[in-house]
């Protein structure tokens, strides 16, 4: 009798030798002891968890800022916070939500779940993965530390020039923003590199490109987009920092520069960023939907094609954020057409979700409710998106609360709701806990009602002429009732998020029930392993036969004894963390690769970069030099063969 299971009904050994191998694998893939062992973890699950929970904390901070702003705007002529504080609040709220919450949260989901879904034991470059997290944390703390020095960024999350040049913004506020964002962008880029390589080289044998789950496809597309969207923003921010620090003239019209260059570079990043935040969330929603509806996602291939199409088309839309800057009408017409075009694949995806629900047997648990909320809110945001893609309409509502409402309908509907649903769905695999359904449904109801009450009136406020980013308004403009309703909605949503957080905490109390391996009857292979996923993910290498390996009855674990490489992976005699790398399209076993397991160098490199950034911030040449030398030293030590 073989010492291993032959189907996906539990990745457990059947023989004493198999049990001993499992224990050996567990020890091999476990973290090193002590605090430095904890700090030096590079495994994708440790890094993924850190991303997810750090981003969640940042979301709470950003959400609290939003409620402070809504409190200020609840009544006319209010002075709950002053103008300067209000400027800092809307700048940091936007920056936190865009840079420190949605993208890192989704990246956390990808880093934790993609290897599990693809049948891998880790990311292809674990130390780079760990560096991505430390850079994210460092950049986030750097950005938030500006509050301690009374110099929080205050020019909006888009940092428009010339408002952000030294002569109009002389403090350190914008320098905190620019340097922090560069650090966070670097984190995003390294994470994206990891995901793309993982997608193409670390899939389980048999998981051909046509069998990859939609979640993994969405992760790959969003990551590929990051590779092309983020670097121009890094260049743009570096040029702006050079303008501010040493007086170059890139954005200075008097010196031959052009302030509009910033908008081009920023929106080249900024518009794809919307889809970078939408697409992985859509992957989470697809994963929930097929399981909750108990059927394959309808139009699976067109959905994947639409995701790829959105990824490409999103790079052709950036000028629709710039209709009001005086660009020629012919150009704006072309961008209007491109903006309309992206509604087609988006429509395909929405119809596929509706068809899946129509033909499935829906289980209305909390995660699925969030998906339904996502569809409703995202469709509304998409419709107003088509409206503002029309140039004359955009000219009327540009920089009004209509845009604020549209943006939140897209971002909250398209990203936050799937993320909250993803917590309910994936928490068993993430921590082994399960959130309570009753509390979950209450939280959903409050979030859905609160969100719509908070943001739907803002469409009308925008039509009535209420401009964005104003810290107060006079009585008698007809805005009072709608603003009060909007504030009440934000409080209701705040209570919803609070309930969600309480539910999350209660799920982790000691007496809470533990989740089984497959609580939902999942379709993809992460549900074949324990909850939470063990250190090594899978003892036996999965061999995948369809896009729903848990449902097809044919997918299995590779048989030891017949495949030398499988035996090598099942039985860790070499004391090295190993994974099977497969070919890019057909997922044929190609080579076994040894992976590093513990390293503090990614953390040290992050600290060195932070020293450099502080030096730039304070114009301290000595610190800059120390930081640079430390960066080179840390990178050399990290890359030196055999060093961990």
């Amino acid at each position: 009798m073989s010492d291993q299971p032959q189907t996906f009904q539990g990745d457990q050994p059947h023989s004493p030798q198999g049990v001993a191998d499992r224990e050996a694998l567990d020890q091999l893939w476990d973290q090193q002891p002590g605090f430095t062992g904890w700090l030096g973890q590079c495994n994708h699950k440790a890094v993924g968890r850190r991303y997810i929970f750090t981003a969640f904390v940042f979301m709470l901070v950003g959400g609290a800022m939003a409620m402070l702003m809504r409190t200020q705007l609840a009544v006319p002529d209010n002075d709950f916070v002053g103008a300067e504080t209000f400027n800092q609040l809307f700048t940091m709220h936007g920056s936190i939500m865009m840079f420190l919450f949605v993208v890192p949260m989704l990246k956390g989901f990808l880093i934790y779940f993609m290897p599990l879904m693809l049948g891998a034991r880790d990311m292809p470059m674990p130390r780079l993965n760990a560096f991505g997290y430390w850079a994210f944390l460092g950049g986030g703390l750097f950005l938030l530390s500006s509050f301690l020095f009374g110099a929080a960024p205050d020019s909006g999350w888009f940092a428009y020039v010339p408002l952000t040049r030294q002569e109009f913004n002389p403090g350190l506020n914008l320098d905190f923003w620019l340097l922090g964002v560069v650090m966070i962008e670097i984190s995003g880029i390294v994470g994206a590199i990891e995901v793309v390589v993982l997608f193409f080289r670390f899939r389980a044998p048999g998981m051909t490109i046509s069998r990859v789950p939609i979640f993994a496809w969405s992760g790959m597309v969003a990551s590929a987009m990051i590779l092309f969207a983020f670097p121009p923003l890094v260049i743009g921010t570096l040029l702006l920092e050079l303008d501010r620090k040493i007086g170059t003239a890139f954005y200075d019209a008097a010196g031959g520069g052009d302030p509009l260059l910033w908008q081009h570079l920023f929106w080249w990043f900024g518009h794809p960023e919307v889809y970078i935040q939408l697409i992985p969330a859509l992957g989470i929603a697809a994963a929930i939907t097929s399981v909750a509806c108990r059927r394959r996602m309808a139009a699976r291939t067109p959905v994947i094609a639409s995701v790829v199409a959105i990824g490409i088309l999103s790079f052709g839309l950036w000028v629709h954020h710039m209709y009001a800057v005086g660009i020629e009408l012919l150009s704006t017409s072309l961008f209007t057409a491109a903006s309309f075009m992206i509604a087609i694949p988006s429509g395909v995806i929405v119809m596929a979700f509706i068809a899946t629900m129509w033909w499935g047997r829906i289980r209305f648990d909390s995660s699925m409710l969030y998906v339904i909320g996502f569809i409703v809110i995202f469709v509304l945001g998409g419709i107003t998106g088509v409206m503002v893609a029309i140039v004359p309409f955009d000219w009327q509502v540009h920089d009004t609360y209509f845009i604020v409402a549209h943006m939140h309908y897209v971002m909250v509907g398209g990203s936050l709701f799937p993320i909250l649903g993803g917590f309910h769905h994936f928490l068993p695999k993430l921590t082994g806990a399960m959130m309570t359904e009753g509390l979950g449904k209450w939280a959903f109801a409050l979030n859905f009602i609160g969100f719509n009450l908070a943001f739907f009136p803002q469409h009308i406020l925008g039509m009535f002429g209420m401009t964005r980013r104003i810290w107060t308004y006079e009585e008698g403009l007809g805005w009072e009732g709608l603003n009060l309703a909007s504030t009440a909605g934000s409080y209701i949503m705040g209570i919803g998020i609070l309930l969600f957080t309480i539910n999350l905490l209660l799920a982790h109390r000691r007496s809470a029930p533990r989740a089984p391996a497959d609580p939902w009857g999942g379709d993809t292979i992460e549900w074949a392993t324990d909850s939470p996923a063990p250190n090594f993910n899978y003892q036996y290498v999965p061999v995948v036969e369809s896009p729903e390996p848990m449902w097809d009855g044919r997918s299995r674990f590779a048989e030891a004894g017949t495949e030398g490489w499988a035996e090598r992976l099942d039985q860790p005699r070499r004391g090295v963390r190993e994974n099977i790398a497969t070919t890019g399209l057909d997922a044929e076993p190609d080579h076994v690769i040894a992976l590093p397991g513990h390293s503090l160098w990614p953390l040290f490199l992050t600290i060195a970069i932070m020293v450099f950034l502080v030096g730039v911030l304070l114009d301290a040449v000595g610190l800059i030099g120390i930081g640079l030398v430390a960066c080179v030293g840390c990178a050399a030590a990290w890359l030196w063969p055999g060093v961990e």
Partner: protein
């Protein structure tokens, strides 16, 4: 492409078919850096199109010779790194070390000319966007030449220490691939500084 060059990859089933993860990593890095370079070049061209005069009145063009020499040396250094890689593959470990030393000298020479270009520029970076672009492009190229030279130096030390040989030389291959981007950066800097038509 053989995965045998890596000390952490072990082929299965009749030989490897794909590139090692390290090679994937460096190509992904080049995609990112290439996009950044493209962003910088497009920004430069955008600013150039907005000018009535190029170079602006009173600004003399920088010396062509130093830029051309830096370009030639960067291409030379890249070619030598590739030659070292081929020699290493063919079993000439000692010769590969010598060629790498030559590459390091060429890279250092390239860096020296770029730095000299920056130091001896006839204007300051804050005088006009023309000058700002010159400093950024030349500085950007110098940064990557310096990084690439450090990579050659590290590989050379590893060769001397016996850590790189005919069977395991992924680090050398990664350095050779990275030089593609470095040469592209120097070419882009040269083109933006010296080849944009005068107006």
């Amino acid at each position: 492409m053989s995965t045998r060059i890596s000390r952490t990859a072990f082929p299965v089933r009749g030989g490897p078919q794909g590139a090692p993860i390290g090679v994937w990593g460096i190509w992904m890095t080049i995609v990112v850096l290439g996009t950044a370079l493209a962003g910088l070049v497009v920004s430069g061209v955008y600013l150039y199109w907005g000018q009535d005069e190029w170079p602006p009145a009173g600004f003399e063009a920088p010396v062509l010779t130093r830029g051309a020499l830096a370009l030639a040396l960067s291409v030379g250094a890249g070619a030598l790194v590739v030659a070292a890689l081929r020699t290493m593959r063919a079993g000439g470990e000692r010769a590969a070390g010598h060629i790498l030393l030559g590459a390091l000298l060429a890279a250092t020479g390239c860096l020296a000319f770029l730095v000299l270009d920056l130091v001896q520029a006839p204007w300051h970076w804050d005088e006009h966007v023309y000058a700002s672009l010159f400093y950024v492009f030349v500085g950007y190229a110098a940064t990557f030449v310096a990084v690439s030279a450090l990579m050659i130096a590290a590989v050379l030390v590893q060769r001397v220490a016996g850590m790189i040989d005919t069977g395991r030389h992924l680090e050398l291959k990664v350095t050779a691939i990275f030089w593609i981007h470095t040469i592209a950066t120097v070419v882009a800097a040269f083109a933006m500084v010296h080849l944009l038509p005068h107006r």
